[in-house]
């Protein structure tokens, strides 16, 4: 269940943005990704989630282990909070949505259409989806955007519970989450652009 990354190089728009990444993520471990704007955190997470191929290097993880939460939450404005969660539960072959609703205190909003939620409430719903996937490795891209202090605390305790149950989490963020976790600053891994270019452009240099 451990996620291992060997000598990974990831690219966006045909240009490598991060290279020489080596780390692994064991059960019970959380890793915080830091780095200035545009350093490639989102790109890295998308690559690990399997949404785009790496330029080179290896990603070793079991099948169907990773749950990914992006900037946009994939919520349907015209479905209620409960319906949104039920849908994802079905897709991931799970039954129980109550744990997730409780964890992010969504109960009062249960029957509201997702489109009428405020920014922070939407985000809470998006995070609750992670609990529902039942997958051990979470990849979270700036999860606490627009959350207030209480909601950040809820989130932190949800992550802690997940880690306690043997899960793992990789979180890209700019602010302090109040989690005791290792921090990986991606700045040193920013691709030296003259060394090599994207696989697709390389042929032309």
């Amino acid at each position: 269940m451990t996620l291992t990354i060997r000598d990974l190089c990831v690219a966006r728009g045909g240009l490598p943005v991060l290279e020489g990444l080596n780390f692994s993520l064991a059960p019970g471990q959380a890793l915080i990704l830091r780095g200035p704007n545009g350093s490639g955190k989102t790109t890295l997470l998308r690559t690990l989630a399997g949404l785009q191929p790496p330029l080179s290097g290896e990603i070793i993880a079991g099948e169907d282990q990773i749950a990914y939460a992006a900037h946009s939450d994939g919520l349907k404005a015209m479905l209620t909070v409960a319906e949104n969660l039920t849908f994802w539960a079905d897709v991931f072959g799970q039954r129980d949505i109550e744990t997730a609703i409780d964890a992010f205190s969504l109960d009062p909003l249960r029957d509201r259409l997702a489109g009428t939620l405020s920014a922070g409430q939407k985000r809470r719903l998006g995070l609750a989806r992670m609990l529902i996937t039942g997958r051990p490795i979470w990849m979270l891209d700036e999860p606490t955007v627009s959350l207030d202090v209480d909601a950040v605390a809820l989130f932190a305790s949800a992550v802690r519970a997940h880690l306690g149950a043997g899960g793992a989490a990789l979180i890209a963020t700019h602010i302090d989450l109040g989690l005791e976790a290792e921090v990986l600053d991606v700045t040193p891994f920013r691709a030296a652009h003259d060394a090599r270019l994207g696989a697709s452009d390389e042929a032309f240099l």
Partner: protein, 256 residues
């Protein structure tokens, strides 16, 4: 431990596939292009002048037969250009050689122009022969559909920024489109039996056009094939240069 030590160094491609390397391709095209240009120009000039000035009128069609020297070669090339794009797309999908994807991209505008010429000369020919500019004859109709496929293919290339994504998607479109083009041909045949001429180049002597028309026509066809090749080679070179410029600029930007 670095990547290169672990993975076996890929064998240098040799023979035909070596031209999948953009630089090598550029060198090759630079070498053959002048000859190709002269040859195609020569064939076109000789064929068209021969056809236009030195062939007799047909006893039924009068002087309109002269249109055949433009119509038939351009119609042939319109189809063959699509076929070439299909092959190039397959090569890109299977072996992922960039030059091949770019060659497909470069061929499309040439193909459209050929299709347009065929359509226009056909229409102009149709007016005296059939009394109408356009009839929904199967051959003409399938040409119109081919034209639409060309337009869609080019629009898709134009709509996507990332060159590799564009290459992948247009290749898939080209494959699927080819299947549907063949299907359409059958459908259209079923829908309307037509007015159009049968094949004139078949080896069957009975059906063949007379020799006086036949030889200049062959020269013209050669001319069109050669100019197609020349244009595609040149345009592929242009596409390669554009990609290289893009790559270099991106590197510059990234460094600064």
């Amino acid at each position: 431990m670095s990547m290169t030590e672990e993975t076996p160094i890929p064998k240098r491609p040799s023979g035909f596939w070596s031209y999948a390397n953009p630089v090598k391709f550029l060198g090759f095209s630079e070498r053959v292009l002048p000859a190709l240009c002269w040859l195609s120009g020569l064939c076109l000039v000789v064929g068209l002048i021969w056809g236009f000035f030195f062939t007799p009128d047909d006893f039924r069609q009068g002087s309109t037969v002269k249109i055949i020297y433009l119509h038939v070669p351009s119609a042939l090339m319109a189809i063959n250009a699509w076929f070439m794009m299909l092959v190039a797309s397959l090569i890109w999908i299977i072996r992922r050689h960039h030059v091949s994807a770019l060659a497909a991209k470069a061929a499309a505008p040439v193909g459209v122009v050929m299709t347009l010429i065929a359509l226009f000369t056909g229409a102009v020919w149709g007016q005296p022969m059939w009394g109408t500019w356009w009839a929904w004859d199967p051959r003409l109709t399938s040409f119109l559909i081919l034209f639409l496929f060309y337009l869609g293919y080019m629009a898709l290339w134009a709509a996507i920024d990332d060159p590799d994504t564009a290459a992948d998607l247009t290749s898939v479109l080209c494959l699927v489109g080819s299947v549907f083009a063949v299907l359409s041909r059958y459908a259209v045949n079923f829908w309307n039996q037509g007015l159009h001429q049968g094949a004139s180049l078949s080896l069957d002597k009975e059906e063949n056009v007379a020799d006086v028309f036949y030889f200049p026509l062959l020269v013209c066809i050669a001319g069109f094939v050669l100019i197609f090749l020349a244009l595609v080679l040149y345009r592929t070179g242009t596409e390669i240069r554009l990609r290289r410029t893009r790559a270099l600029q991106a590197r510059e930007e990234a460094r600064s």
